[in-house]
């Protein structure tokens, strides 16, 4: 996906003014949050589980190189071919070559965020391969020529009427708007593709080093058809996904669907290990696994490494007041919400995504919801520091902060200046006691009103109370 994160501010304003999007986002609001809360309560010992999982992910990342080598060894032993890709470009080239070497004409895909990162569909199509997205949400977006706006519910920004329009045009059938009928129509359209594809491409929620297993955690059953029916199965996965054992998977899968959608388990856990066995009636003859770096090693060994624990559940965006209002597209790249505000600046360069770590209210909800306890606000704060140190914030912000720092170091002057600021502020407040605009700071006040100060400072009040004692 093309990076558009540098246009965050403009796009966020557009999204806020988009009535249809606002209506669709309002419908979604709270559904995931409530479902998760219920599932967490029911589970009982949720906090110990989160602690355990965070440690488990840290331990795997501390020995990332060794676990990757072990994963490769075990996957290879079972007949998989393991490929390594340093960049998005390399990952695509590897998969295009597999397709070309095997005369692949049609690919069915189950949802994979890494494939969105690397622009895989575009590259395969340019090589003359037909690509069919089979996750319902992704299928809708493929018809709409749009990127996903949520990592778990990619079409969260679309209404059923919009889906009906897309289906009517693509399928040439009478327009229906009932959600179950739309789902059935998609099933019927996609059946043919499942059965006729030469290659299936899936992501992998985790890579199990012990067994060389790749796996998907899904509800629809499309990943099962994609990984079972075609003669070639190709997995594309980030290198950070590796975990030591199947027991570790059992632990993480207690967290993932509960955090994502409030289900205790998804309908399907699909573990695939190597190629089909001798005499097996189904399963692929070739199994390829592409391990992708594409920016992940930039987190390793830094003060942002905790981000690599991420299990892509989407809870942080579901709980984010900014995301809830603008949706995923405004973030300008594959990963929206708080996790995207940390991932995107590092993956694509902070100079291309400078607004993202600032697109937060720092309410802290994301860190509370995150099943692997990633301190997302702290990581965003660290990115802000990097921006400041790298002179990547606007000069006015830098000058302002320096001036404030200079003043704060001089208590007498500080008291004098804040005293006057409080007085002027109280004069500026309108009859409603709100300041609607501040000269030179309209970037801040355009979207916000500020309660006018009372005319006295904290220091005044403090002195007064001390005096009363």
């Amino acid at each position: 996906m093309q990076v558009q994160s540098m246009f965050f501010k403009r796009r966020a304003s557009e999204k806020l003014a988009d009535g249809l999007l606002q209506a669709n986002m309002r419908k979604a609001k709270g559904k995931f949050v409530d479902a998760r809360a219920k599932a967490v309560l029911e589970f009982g010992n949720w906090e110990p589980l989160r602690d355990y999982a965070a440690k488990l992910r840290d331990a795997a990342l501390a020995d990332l190189d060794a676990y990757l080598v072990e994963f490769e060894r075990n996957a290879t032993r079972r007949g998989s071919v393991v490929h390594w890709a340093e960049t998005a470009e390399e990952a695509c080239a590897i998969i295009v070559k597999i397709a070309q070497d095997n005369g692949v004409r049609k690919v069915t895909k189950s949802k994979s965020m890494v494939s969105e990162e690397v622009n895989l569909n575009e590259r395969l199509e340019a090589a003359g391969v037909q690509v069919v997205e089979t996750d319902l949400g992704e299928y809708i977006l493929q018809l709409a020529h749009e990127p996903p706006s949520h990592i778990v519910a990619p079409a969260i920004h679309k209404s059923k009427e919009q889906v009906a329009d897309l289906f009517t045009e693509a399928h040439g059938k009478p327009r229906i708007t009932q959600i179950d009928a739309l789902t059935r129509e998609a099933r019927e359209q996609l059946r043919e593709h499942f059965l006729s594809a030469d290659m299936g491409i899936s992501g992998s929620n985790f890579l199990v080093a012990e067994t060389g297993t790749t796996l998907t955690v899904t509800n629809e059953g499309n990943a099962d058809l994609v990984t079972t029916i075609p003669r070639i199965h190709c997995v594309i996965a980030g290198i950070e996904k590796v975990i030591p054992t199947l027991e570790d998977f059992a632990c993480l899968v207690r967290l993932l669907p509960r955090s994502a959608i409030g289900q205790s388990i998804t309908n399907y856990l699909t573990l695939t290990t190597g190629v089909k066995g001798p005499g097996d009636a189904d399963g692929p003859e070739q199994m390829h696994i592409v391990l992708v770096d594409a920016g992940r090693t930039k987190f390793v060994g830094t003060d942002l490494q905790e981000m690599l624990r991420c299990i892509r559940c989407g809870a942080c965006m579901n709980h984010c007041p900014v995301y809830q209002n603008i949706g995923g597209h405004a973030y300008g790249w594959v990963y929206p919400g708080p996790m995207g505000s940390v991932l995107t600046p590092v993956y694509v360069g902070i100079e291309n995504a400078g607004d993202l770590p600032n697109a937060a209210t720092f309410c802290g909800e994301c860190a509370v919801a995150c099943p692997v306890k990633i301190p997302l606000p702290d990581l965003m704060r660290k990115l802000r520091e990097r921006q400041f140190d790298g002179h990547l914030r606007p000069w006015s912000e830098r000058v302002g902060l320096h001036a404030w720092g200079w003043l704060a170091m001089r208590p007498g002057l500080y008291a004098f200046a804040t005293g006057w600021a409080a007085r002027i502020g109280s004069w500026l407040g309108g009859r409603d006691g709100l300041i609607h605009s501040l000269p030179g700071l309209d970037g801040w006040t355009k979207g916000r009103d500020m309660p006018a100060p009372s005319g006295r400072t904290f220091r005044d009040l403090y002195r007064e109370r001390q005096g009363k004692r």
Binding site: K27, A28, G44, N45, P48, L49, L56, A59, D63, L64, D65, A66, Y67, L68, V69, E70, W84, E86, T134, L136, G137, I140, A155, I156, K158, S159, T183, R184, L190, R191, F194, T211, T213, N219, G221, D224, L225, T228, P244, L246, E247, A250, V253, R254, S264, N267, Y268, T270, L271, K276, G277, D280, A281, D282, G283, D293, T297, V300, G301, T302
Partner: protein, 218 residues
């Protein structure tokens, strides 16, 4: 240098480890971890007083219907009853493990082969079932094609009472004990397929079966 060498060297460099590849000591350490799998925290309901009660409760929750039979010989009659009650045709494709049963007198047309696109009902067994989540585990083998549980709109699955376990961890331990390692496909099924991709409204029946019916047999 290959991509593999570069990636491994970058990780090691960033973590302050010497050299470009994991050392024998590094590999020894992670192999020891993998050889001694540890279970994380489990919920209380993963260890219920009665596994069957917990299993059926979770089946209800995920939308799996269920019935119990007194003996293996009763399976065809239960299948016939279920199909009739659901208004479905009395015709199934099944894993060969069920070929010896008397399907004719139950009035069910039976074929022992992997499911194809137009088959309506598939009958399978399972390696074990997990009470915590109402889940069945289907392992692939020549006699256990996965498509039979996947392509038809209705999936009927026989669960042996003796193969009912508490947790996923127990299921993995059982596979290690009995088979050494996972086959190509380990397929954990919890209810009929579903999606909430349009307006976050749950619809039963996406790309997999619309109906899952479990028969508990001795």
């Amino acid at each position: 240098m290959s991509a593999r060498e570069n990636i491994l060297a970058r990780i090691r460099g960033a973590q302050g480890k010497p050299g470009g590849e994991p050392t024998a000591a590094d590999l020894g350490r992670v192999r020891a971890v993998m050889a001694n799998p540890v279970n994380g925290p489990q919920p209380a309901f993963a260890h219920p007083p009665d596994l069957l009660v917990q299993f059926l409760k979770e089946c209800d929750r995920v939308g799996t219907t269920h019935a119990q039979v007194a003996s293996e010989a009763d399976i065809p009659r239960e299948v016939a009853r279920y199909l009739a009650a659901a208004g479905l045709e009395a015709r199934i494709v099944a894993w060969p493990a069920f070929a010896h049963l008397d399907w004719a007198s139950a009035g069910v047309t039976f074929e022992s082969r992997p499911a194809r696109r137009d088959d309506r009902t598939g009958l399978t067994g399972c390696t074990c079932a997990v009470a915590e989540t109402g889940t069945t585990l289907l392992l692939s083998s020549p006699d256990q094609p996965k498509v039979t549980a996947l392509l038809p709109e209705t999936h009927v699955c026989v669960v042996r009472k003796s193969r009912l376990l508490g947790t996923l961890e127990e299921a993995f331990a059982l596979v290690r004990r009995e088979q050494g390692e996972l086959p190509r496909s380990a397929f954990f099924v919890s209810g009929p397929s579903r999606t909430a991709d349009i307006e976050q409204t749950m619809v039963i029946g996406a790309h997999g079966p619309y109906r899952v019916h479990v028969i508990i047999a001795p």
